[in-house]
Subunit: 342 residues, 4 copies
Amino acid sequence: MRYSFANDYCLGADVKILKALVEENFMQKAGYSFDVSSMALRAKVQELVGDPKASVFLITGGTMCNIVAISHLLRPFEAVMTCDSGHIVDHEAASIEAHGHKVIATKGYDGKIDLCALEREYARYKDCHMTKPRLVFLSQSTELGTTYTKAELKAICKWCHERDLFVYMDGARLANALALADCDLSLKDIYELVDAFYIGGTKNGLLFGEVLVIKDEALAKDLYYLLKQNGALLAKGFVMSEQFLAYFKDDHYLKLAHHANVMADGLRKAFLKAGLELYGTSKTNQVFIKVDPLLKDYLAREYEFSQWGKDGDQEIVRFVTSWATPKEVIEDFAKYLEAYHE
Amino acid sequence: MRYSFANDYCLGADVKILKALVEENFMQKAGYSFDVSSMALRAKVQELVGDPKASVFLITGGTMCNIVAISHLLRPFEAVMTCDSGHIVDHEAASIEAHGHKVIATKGYDGKIDLCALEREYARYKDCHMTKPRLVFLSQSTELGTTYTKAELKAICKWCHERDLFVYMDGARLANALALADCDLSLKDIYELVDAFYIGGTKNGLLFGEVLVIKDEALAKDLYYLLKQNGALLAKGFVMSEQFLAYFKDDHYLKLAHHANVMADGLRKAFLKAGLELYGTSKTNQVFIKVDPLLKDYLAREYEFSQWGKDGDQEIVRFVTSWATPKEVIEDFAKYLEAYHE
Amino acid sequence: MRYSFANDYCLGADVKILKALVEENFMQKAGYSFDVSSMALRAKVQELVGDPKASVFLITGGTMCNIVAISHLLRPFEAVMTCDSGHIVDHEAASIEAHGHKVIATKGYDGKIDLCALEREYARYKDCHMTKPRLVFLSQSTELGTTYTKAELKAICKWCHERDLFVYMDGARLANALALADCDLSLKDIYELVDAFYIGGTKNGLLFGEVLVIKDEALAKDLYYLLKQNGALLAKGFVMSEQFLAYFKDDHYLKLAHHANVMADGLRKAFLKAGLELYGTSKTNQVFIKVDPLLKDYLAREYEFSQWGKDGDQEIVRFVTSWATPKEVIEDFAKYLEAYHE
Amino acid sequence: MRYSFANDYCLGADVKILKALVEENFMQKAGYSFDVSSMALRAKVQELVGDPKASVFLITGGTMCNIVAISHLLRPFEAVMTCDSGHIVDHEAASIEAHGHKVIATKGYDGKIDLCALEREYARYKDCHMTKPRLVFLSQSTELGTTYTKAELKAICKWCHERDLFVYMDGARLANALALADCDLSLKDIYELVDAFYIGGTKNGLLFGEVLVIKDEALAKDLYYLLKQNGALLAKGFVMSEQFLAYFKDDHYLKLAHHANVMADGLRKAFLKAGLELYGTSKTNQVFIKVDPLLKDYLAREYEFSQWGKDGDQEIVRFVTSWATPKEVIEDFAKYLEAYHE
């Protein structure tokens, strides 16, 4: 069978995380994330973001985080702004529109929001015949594997808050950003800057689970009702908490993400060595690369990866590494790629 | 007070229509459009579209028509496609999204759908991670005053129906299209081609009211429930029917629209004579014109009109005539415009 | 043709109201209720409720008022409480549920809310596994023609506000309550007590139209967006305002409602004289009466009225009078009824 | 710490199920339940229900199953009927209403639908001013631990299908019903009778997960879109499938449920021996018992259980056993209860 670089959610859980789950398996706990593990997890996240009053929720997946957070923050006639590569634009089955809100996508660059484009578009919304932009959605790391710097995030948040717009961060691959050596944004910084965000678990070694953080206690008021109403309140919430406690213990989540990033660096190195051109500037665990059809077929014989788009004649494909990608697989891949050019 | 060319809904009703209303005022009738006038109106519309089985509904306004028809035709995860100037894109407060459906806008030309652009975009929707396009929305006459020919509409409908997409026509200014001398599309043609459309009354001489027509009896099943549920089932439905009976009698609606078109021709002639450049190719009752700031100010001293957009340095403004625009007003306007250049 | 007592919306408009509309017909006005008539109407309503800061909106019908007001006041997981005869329970096609909110109906008496029953039910809602009651809906006059006294309304509002519940009043037939000689509730009282209410026009002499009043400027924030988004912002808002200005001028609305009430008294008198038993204690324009099948058939030969329910063997039927019911019709009816017993 | 009889979802997973998960942990699989385990699971369920064309979906929890299935089957104005103890009535935060549908609850008996009460209520829905009942919701085993016989289910389904109503079964505790010695309903029977149902995993030994089964391929069309749009399409769907394969293997799910039922029988026996009165006729893993306040306090010292309701002076409390309840715990409980009366 071919090795898959198709995504970072193709295996079960990291060993430490799975072990935590197994060890706690026969402990009786309360339902709906009101148990001891969930309480400990909340305290841990509050410590990580530096605010004992941060509101913390356990949610099974990223699409659900986005639905719940956005439904919670917006009134029916309010809209979300984001850039064209934003995950909610084309990859979540129009779930935001299904929950009543227009998603306004402006041209981004390298997977990130272009504040000028955003401002130009924002200026068009003037009266009740149009929708009312109220929240800016961004991803860290982005859908193209790039990351916002502290200065960039600050500028966006300042611009938003001056206009009474919320900032919400999709953190499906947040750990991959945080684990970068040159990342100048900590969880505390993010918590201080944005209004709500989630820390992804599914794509970084959990069986499933994300942690939604809402900044303000008042802002999070009654969110449990919305969770329950959307079928998002898992009966055995502790199954997520137990995993997340192991995830956050001793910065294990950063180590997992670091590994994924390093493996991706290995891929990038191999591609560059083979004279190929990277697409975009990702330094995290997603690798975008331009290939011609012949090479694509050659790679596809041994590896799974995904079609991303086109750039003129060339196709852009995506390789994703994860916490679980073995070093040997990367070495083998490099050899296999090298063999093509011989 | 300045004369207003701001829109075609700034007066009450045409005299004949108002008279019909007044004459029927003291006749006891059944509620919710199940009365004799509404039945007569349905028969009249069925005659006009050439099908005694056409389903006909009375609705107070155009936004409500669009909401009800689209909500009725689509399942929750299905989406609407249209061109960027489509009224539902930016002028109805994201009501389609509020009712759960994504609106996908592709680049149009001269207010009309560009089938190539539509096709390119359509091809992107492939699986359940994206929304599912299911209906194409177009306006006749368009938001830029232009009109689809029979050949154009046929091509769009053929393309749509081959892909199991509904075609829905917003006819807020349908009469203005039908009243053009060179219009080769009759109500019967439209009924045959599209799946649903509405014939606007509000912008062509009614106090208010639109007639929604759904092609297929089966397709219209249970639509009354949706009307009631959306607060769109007027208690005194006969107030709309009585007006519409006078509207359709002896093609009065076409005469009203013809007058509006002719008055707009008068404006266009005056603008061209003054050496100004029209924006787009409208031949109906909306006139788009490029003006410089000085001229704009000069015109605004005596007339109301609306800001439309920009084309480089020049502003595009819109003048709208109606069934009620007096010939003398157009003559005066022409003189006033002429005076500017002297 | 039989004379209809089926409802109070079976004719056009009162003469004074229609005249106002006709007189203003050719005045150019701004769209979407931002015109001079609508501004004057807002000032008039503000005067009537005694607060120059009251927020006033023009809406085409009662179901739409209820949808918009309730959607505006509640968050997605919040619910409405009312009594079992409340109009939203069974007569508006589950429009409140369609807009996302549970309607909790408790047993009422004589068409009114029983605060004990409400309290008992309210006590059951405790956590996020259930919905969260947030608004109490009541009608004045009620669906059974009865009315709340000032003391009753005060008690309900006090109870609600102590629990952070909004009070919303459906005033489809509010004028009929206000016009009663023994009514101790003025528009000012109502405005002071409840959070939002509407003053019905459709059932008391307008072609169509209701006035929604929201108490607090902050509470009404952005409601225009919701109106537009729900297709409830009529292009020619002035058509409603012009009618309402005549409606409120010199308390004309109270005179219209008084007439309807007096005509209903005539019916009640006739029924009692004929030895029939009234159902409930309505003193407004709805008359509920118990009849046996033979009498029902006899009445149905000459008059339209509606089936209401059953009380053991006997049927309860409803007769509705209006601003337009001629005195002679009531006299003839009394004779016709008398003839039955001879 | 007290032993908890509060619910059947207070531990992790059954050992065999957990083992299956651990064993498969490092196998690369496709996302979103399109992997080999999910395909095998679908085949297994199709075998169990006796139809290779049954549509099978993996969903994280019961509330989500109910939301997705009901949203999928109903049009916006259609309603659900059930009995007053139905889980969607009071225990799922009005999620069905939040998704647009009225829930009509009629008086049931012993946790089950009373077809006479249902019929009486159904007869009231006649026109578009009310909602349109379209689906009947029932639970097996019920919220009171009781079960429908084949004859009962047949009668309900026949009545429903004659009226074009869907039947949907909530099977959160379906295995507990199937595992009863005198249960005459197999999975095949259920599949044949109802239109859609789910087989619960969460309450019978899975970490989480339910299997939604839709009878007809056509009926299930496009349901994946709805799953994705509601945030219900888990990235690692295989985490559920792997558990479910172990669950269904060699009827393990029936053995787990049988154990829970037998432990509940132990409790019932102990209660009866102590002279207490059972509430209702549950033979599955939920035990409802009438207790006086003193006994309740005594039991609460050592055990957790839940408050259910009142019956006059006495309180009704609920004890729930599970696949994991140790026999010794039941024996100890019996002794503890006995000690109270000495």
